[in-house]
């Protein structure tokens, strides 16, 4: 496969800023693929994108389009060969939808008939009825419809390359998912070379044939397929970034009963000090959990407090952090943070000890959830690309 776009040592310095926004970036974009530039805000991903069509002029370096050095080419000519979609859409409010989409064909001097035919074709392509929408004005459309028109405008003159800067970022989650799916299907038909900027790792995994994870200065931390990025993150930065999805949200949904509980040394109060000491010695924990006759947790005791003789009724700390299996992991986490021992005790309906939850349990639960979430996004993407029905909440456009 040939490279559609090649960036060589591309650099952008802003006056008054010590570090370059984009620092000697080398990146090649293969023909017909969606390449996602993703990274934390301020990493230079948008600057990189906007240098490709020279909305932002590079300070140094070379941009090649289909092998041709376009770094010094006429920027207006260049932009007519590159579709451009931005988050704010940027439709011309004083022009009709038809006129908006026809912007580039008109600049290229197409005949009226050819433009009219193309408009029809494009509106069908983005799933909107030409008779209804061509004469409307942007303000008469919904946000999702506007962005469809934005995409249609970018595609108007059939450019080989499209640049998309957070194109679905301003939409509500449902419209966003719908447009993502539609766009992937569309790409299945048109096979453009697409550079797509987002800060949302889930969107990157879903939309990208390849993901470039960027850190500050637009330095490439990893450039690979979504599967590889997920399976083998190049370094801690990547690992952290792909884990930055909505973990806390997941913790609010997952229940205690869904995780495997950690074991903990326990001893019955009635069994006496010696039994408790033995239980503690046989584990590597610093505390032993004392249970009553019904196996209900009563007190936390340290080794120091077990020395000497006498009843165990009053030694150690009262057990306060107790949850039932129906609690959410967020609830468990909160109790844990309030506990001196750093552990939350899980009991059944009758109050009997089931196990404990500590930080490691939470972390492994998060890992599982992340993996599941990424798998879901990957499945979703596979399904959409295979042309199957999208998931339930992404019904075709109204």
């Amino acid at each position: 496969m040939t490279d559609m776009i090649a960036l060589e040592q591309l650099t952008k310095n802003y006056p008054g800023q010590a570090r370059p926004a984009v620092d000697k970036l080398d990146l090649t974009i293969p023909e017909g693929e969606i390449v996602i530039l993703v990274g934390p805000s301020g990493c230079g991903k948008t600057t990189t994108l906007k240098m490709i069509n020279r909305i932002i002029e590079p300070s140094s370096g070379i941009i090649r389009l289909q092998g041709e050095d376009v770094t010094r080419a006429d920027p207006d000519e260049l932009r007519r060969r590159i579709g451009y979609v931005i988050q704010q859409v940027g439709l011309f409010p004083h022009q009709t939808i038809g006129r908006n989409i026809a912007a580039v064909p008109r600049l290229l001097g197409w005949s009226r008939q050819r433009i009219a035919d193309r408009l029809d074709e494009l509106l069908h392509l983005v799933g909107m009825d030409p008779a209804t929408y061509l004469g409307r004005y942007p303000k008469e459309l919904s946000g999702g419809q506007r962005q469809r028109i934005g995409v249609a405008r970018a595609l108007a003159a059939d450019p080989p390359v499209m640049l998309m800067d957070e194109p679905f970022g301003a939409l509500d989650p449902i419209s966003r998912e719908r447009l993502q799916n539609e766009f992937l299907r569309l790409q299945g038909q048109i096979g453009k070379t697409i550079v797509f900027v987002t800060h949302d790792i889930d969107e990157a995994i879903k939309m990208g044939d390849r993901i470039a994870i960027l850190r500050e200065g637009s330095t490439v931390a990893q450039y690979d397929t979504p599967e590889t990025v997920l399976a083998a993150p190049a370094d801690d930065f990547v690992k952290e970034f792909i884990g930055s999805g909505a973990s806390l949200k997941g913790l609010g949904l997952a229940r205690v009963r869904e995780v495997s509980l950690a074991d903990w040394p326990t001893s019955q109060i009635s069994a006496g000090r010696e039994a408790a000491r033995r239980a503690l010695d046989s584990s590597d924990h610093g505390w032993v959990l004392l249970l009553d006759e019904q196996r209900r947790p009563v007190r936390w005791v340290e080794a120091r407090a077990l020395q000497g003789e006498g009843s165990l009724d009053r030694v150690g700390l009262e057990v306060r952090a107790i949850v039932e299996p129906t609690a959410t992991l967020v609830g468990a986490l909160e109790s844990m943070l309030g506990s001196r021992v750093g552990v939350v005790v899980v009991v059944d309906g009758s109050g009997a000890f089931l196990g404990t939850i500590d930080m490691r349990v939470i972390m492994s639960a998060v890992e599982v959830m992340r993996a599941a979430a990424h798998k879901r996004v990957l499945d979703d993407r596979r399904r959409v690309r295979a042309g199957q029905e999208p998931p339930a909440n992404a019904i075709a456009a109204q």
Partner: protein, 215 residues
């Protein structure tokens, strides 16, 4: 003779002077509009130049009209419509330049970027995107200037300019005669009516020339 009778009797003269008045104003406004819009376009992206131009236009507008007319009379060495029109052009500048600048600066940056993104060059972007979007604001500036000029033009009579000021001065000359009030009132109301008509005309023009998409 009451005012209405007087107005009817002098209808021909009133009409003639009104048309003269309107003509002077429209010529001044047209020239001022072209210069003002061109200035606005030239300076709106250059902050220092913009402030300088706006300040100069502001100073011009602050100069009392009698002083302006008298200065132009000395400077140009001629009386009649010409110095009056020059004064009107000068006075029209601030509202037009300022609104052109404000209108153009107010265009959404995302729209301008889109226009760049589809490959529109500097001038095409200005002509087909930025200026049409700024147009309603520009037109308000022109309208404000129009109303302003109608009043200022009345004083133009002092340096031989045509228009309704003649009636007002005529009233002043015959201050003791019973017709003095009629003359001055006729001139004053004539100016008011022309001002209101121009105001309405520009409102209408604004509605007719503003795209449905941005109304």
């Amino acid at each position: 003779m009451n005012f209405v009778e007087y107005a009817v009797e002098n209808y021909d003269r009133l009409l003639e002077l009104s048309l003269d008045h309107l003509a002077v104003v429209l010529v001044g406004l047209l020239i001022g509009g072209v210069i003002g819009i061109a200035l606005g376009i030239t300076v709106y992206q250059r902050p220092h130049l913009r402030n300088a131009v706006l300040n100069v236009c502001g100073v011009i507008l602050t100069v009392p009209s009698l002083a302006m007319y008298a200065l132009l009379l000395s400077l140009l060495g001629t009386i009649g419509a010409m110095p009056v029109i020059v004064a009107l052009v000068l006075y029209s500048l601030l509202p037009i330049v300022r609104n052109t600048v404000t209108g153009l600066s107010g265009v959404d940056a995302a729209i301008v970027e889109s226009a760049k993104g589809v490959g529109m060059g500097r001038w095409r972007r200005l002509l087909s995107i930025e200026f049409p979007l700024a147009w309603p604001v520009v037109l308000v500036g022109v309208r404000v200037s129009a109303v302003l000029l109608v009043g200022v033009a009345a004083l133009g009579t002092i340096i031989g300019g045509p228009g309704l000021g003649e009636l007002i001065f005529a009233g002043l000359r015959v201050i003791t005669s019973p017709n003095a009030v009629n003359l001055a009132l006729l001139g004053t109301l004539g100016v008011v009516v022309i001002g209101m008509l121009l105001d309405a005309a520009f409102l209408l023009l604004s509605r007719l020339t503003t795209s449905k998409g941005v109304r």
